[in-house]
Amino acid sequence: MSRINENFDSSVWGKIDRFVNGTEPETKETANEEIVRSRGKASFVGIEDTENLEFHDELALRQKEEDEKAIAKLREAENRSTGRFYKLWNRAYNVLAVLAALVIMALLVATVSYMPRFGEADNPVNNEVAARYIEHGMQETGTVNVVTGMILNYRGFDTMGETHVLFIAATTVMILLFITKKSVLGKEYKQDRAFEPKNDAILQKVATFLVPVIAVFGIYVVLNGHLSPGGGFSGGAIMGAGLILYVSAFGFKKTEKFFNEHIYVVAKVSALCCYVCCLSYYFYMGANGFDNHIPLGTPGAIISSGLILFIDIFVGTEVACTMYAFYALFRRGEI
């Protein structure tokens, strides 16, 4: 209604309209309007009027002034980046930054020089704790590989914390990147593999040979964790890498036949729960009058060293699931 009014832009309705739509009329137009208003009404009536020529002249003058202002502003900005003072300041800044970095590096190196030499026998690292682990580790935990016994038995609480950190990391990635089917009703969801090299022959052949080997090696590392180098985390990472190779070669549709979201949730949560149960058995039994009823077995046999074998399996499941979940969530926002 009020748009018919020729002073619409400066009227209250115009201001409200601008406020709602968020569009500002161009500054030039307002400038023109100012001129128009200063010259009184009805200057737009006839273009042939002599007054209008003056009006155009005035407009051109205004335009010129604005242009000059803009050019001056640009020059000022240019001077700021190329001017003498600013050049000097930039150079001083660079020198100061390098100096600060050098000072910090020198401090750190000086600190390192105060540390004991690497590999000396009387270092503070070689205290009674390490000696105890090496000397009595096999009798007390039943593991041939002392590292696994140390990680999962003596320092089981640390490893439990690490596994929880993995669980929380996977959950956080899920919160950030998970896409439900309802939220994406377009092509993106269907084209989850669209931008990958489709059915790459070389990749598929190599994966056919490599994936079983990687999977068997991962399972071997997990199950043999208490006898040979490796353990839950390494084996789980190897199995996860094998799963990722399989997915990138054959796609998510084939993987979903044996590893989908349901299996992921069940495996991950139950592995974590079983792990916590095993470790709490270690925490509460074997001291203060409670007997540890789990036999350690003969060191070197595959079924020995009490609960460590089971803890290895649970940690391996957890880590493999996490690795695969990271890849799948990054790749298509779904497991």
Binding site: F195, K198, P229, I238, F330
Partner: protein, 91 residues
């Protein structure tokens, strides 16, 4: 053996510096994979095979794959060929 270790350590430093300074992100990731592989061998020489297995699987394997996927997510790897292929198949 000493020469071998010195060579590995030299490669390690070169990889670390080039991974930081290389302009292409893709090349940086590949150099980072090489860094992980070298440090994996160094772990074996330092007689800690447990760490070496984990480094090879996580550092050189899963970590780099995640980096590649992220690069693809932010469209840093050009996939014009793939898109063309998909478009051809759909037609």
């Amino acid at each position: 053996m000493m020469i071998f270790v010195a060579l590995l350590l030299g490669f390690l430093i070169i990889c670390a510096i080039t991974a930081c300074l290389h302009k292409s992100l893709l090349a940086s990731i590949v150099i980072f994979m090489a860094y992980s592989s070298i440090i994996c061998i160094i772990w074996i020489i330092l007689e800690s095979p447990d760490l070496a297995i984990t480094e090879a699987a996580v550092g050189a394997g899963v970590n780099s794959v995640l980096f590649f996927v992220t690069l693809k997510k932010i469209n840093s790897i050009s996939d014009k060929g793939d898109r063309q292929e998909v478009a051809d198949e759909q037609n």
